[in-house]
Symmetry: C2
Subunit: 340 residues, 2 copies
């Protein structure tokens, strides 16, 4: 526990109640890029003081501009944003930055040696009670923890970008991560209003990115073959599987699409046919020059002159409307729909 | 045009306006299974009289029970359901059933010879102006139309199940389907309130099912490997990519996830790595005995004692709430979110 009284406002209620957030008054965010800024905004809105550690000389300007950009989304989610940056500070020395925090969320470059070096310093300098989490999307905790004296302390807390908005956090224990740390991480992210999911095995890419990657391979193949354009494929997804999978995942969807006997019947009557007829026929595209030229040219047509930031703002508003409809926003006490 | 005055109420406004529905007063639904019932409910709610043709002796009971089951969803979508079955009748003789209709929507068994035989009869008996569409999910219009004297008349109008609820209709022209028929089909489904998408090439499984199948292959692989359970994987999808893809498809998602330069930057910096590192590492599962036993047992745990109908009703309510949030319900005049 920290020894000085924290000036931050009381944390707003999380989905698991406030208790789990009471012991988190100060957070260190290592790496102030897009992911770090998003975590920082969410932590601050939840009443957790944040210190940013990042070697870039202009980091304070970058982070403050980034926080300004995501503040409307935080407010739309129902989180308090009036004094968002009151608890924000910057510390260029890593050891000093983590010296008195309750949680370290690291978002550094995806290079194993660098992460091992960063985590060696964090382990030596952070309080013994601090929760130690890396946002890595590709490096197993087991590999990073080889450089640690206490590998049981490190866990992957991989958000689906951006963390202030998308509910998922994949918690991936390394071989030596202690079950108590896994449970603390789960409770912490849940109290932040996220939907954490603990994986049972380390696997490259974890789960969400592997699934996304599998669908994207076929998407690229279909566009490269000229079956549909990018815009048309996107429209097909939002009008069918996207809408479906926002309320029930693929197993539930097929359970409900297999008649009264559910998934077992689906597997026998449609799944086996899918495995023998469809899976071997799926595309195996490459990003050769022709394919890249097609994708780039169609992206220009599809997304026009709007900037990425403008398009993202529209998307984020739509996504928050969906979350609100599902009772999934952090402030939701009166969701209008049950989650399937 | 039909020669007798139609007693059906005037069609309610569709997304493309009412004009496109004015010339559709009577529809023949061939095959009164789950898909046929869903189409029938939607057509009736839109003020189109429906005649059901199906050889089963108990077809009338089946269809009326099925319509009772989907009526709450039709009402929740904002469609009028007070006198839903006033315009419903049954006709066991195929030639008679299609003799005076403006649209034939065929949902027979997925067997080429049978479909050729059915469509031969329809072509000989239906009015020359009737729109001829098959709901097939797997047989190309080109193959069915080989048995027709006027192959230019037939088009695939493949719904994503159930058609009264999921917006997508994939319109897939055969090699000889006339462009005028394709455009009539598009305008018709759009006027019904659907989001039709015309494909540019025939390909087995069309687009949505191929994409779904690609993701499901990796999903089965991850569960078979014990990385997550079915329930956990479903939760990961609804908390991340499902929510994303409900508001923007995979290309838009990566366009917005690649920094200010969008998709081209994504392809160079993440897409190429995905193609070389991730795609070759994706799973290639089979439905062997162990995998099937795992899937069946976890389905029992995940879905418990609720019936498929109960679970589907919950899912459908949630989906309608999402569609309403996106301004996507047929009655939407005041959608609260822009579609990305």
């Amino acid at each position: 526990m920290t020894s000085t009284p924290a000036p931050a406002p009381a944390a707003t209620p999380g989905r698991d109640g406030t208790a789990a957030l009471d012991s988190y008054r100060r957070a260190a965010i290592i790496g102030g890029g897009v992911i770090g800024i998003s975590w920082a905004g969410l932590f601050l809105a939840r009443g957790i003081d944040v210190v940013i550690n990042d070697p870039r000389p202009d980091i304070e300007d970058l982070v403050r501009a980034g926080l300004d950009e995501i503040t409307p989304a935080l407010a739309a989610l129902g989180l308090p944003t009036d004094h968002l940056t009151d608890g924000l500070r910057f510390e260029a020395d890593l050891a000093t930055a983590v010296a008195d925090v309750d949680i370290v969320q690291e978002n550094g470059p995806e290079r194993l040696e660098l992460k091992q070096q960063i985590w060696g310093t964090i382990e030596r300098s952070a309080p013994a009670h601090a929760l130690l989490a890396t946002s890595t999307s590709s490096i197993p905790a087991t590999a990073i923890a080889e450089a640690l004296r206490h590998p049981e302390r490190l866990v992957v807390g991989h958000p689906f970008n951006p963390p202030h908005l998308v509910p998922l956090v994949e918690i991936v224990p390394g071989r030596q991560t202690s079950p108590a740390v896994v449970e603390r991480a789960r409770a912490f992210y849940a109290a932040l209003g996220k939907r954490p999911q603990v994986l049972r095995k380390e696997i490259p890419g974890f789960v969400a990115n592997r699934l996304q990657s599998a669908l994207f391979r076929e998407a690229v193949s279909l566009v490269a073959q000229g079956v549909v354009t990018e815009q048309e494929l996107d429209d097909i997804v939002t009008a069918s599987i996207g809408l479906r999978w926002a309320v029930g995942g693929p197993f539930r969807t097929f359970h409900l699409g297999g008649g009264p006997e559910g998934l077992p019947h689906f597997i026998e009557h449609l799944g086996r046919a899918m495995a023998t007829d469809m899976w071997p026929a799926l595309g195996n595209p490459t990003f050769d020059d022709t394919t890249v030229a097609t994708l780039v040219s169609q992206a220009r047509e599809a997304f026009g002159d709007d900037t990425v930031a403008q398009l993202a703002a529209v998307r984020d508003r739509a996504q928050i409307a969906l979350m609100r409809a599902l009772g999934e926003t952090p402030d939701a006490n009166s969701g209008s729909a049950e989650r399937a």
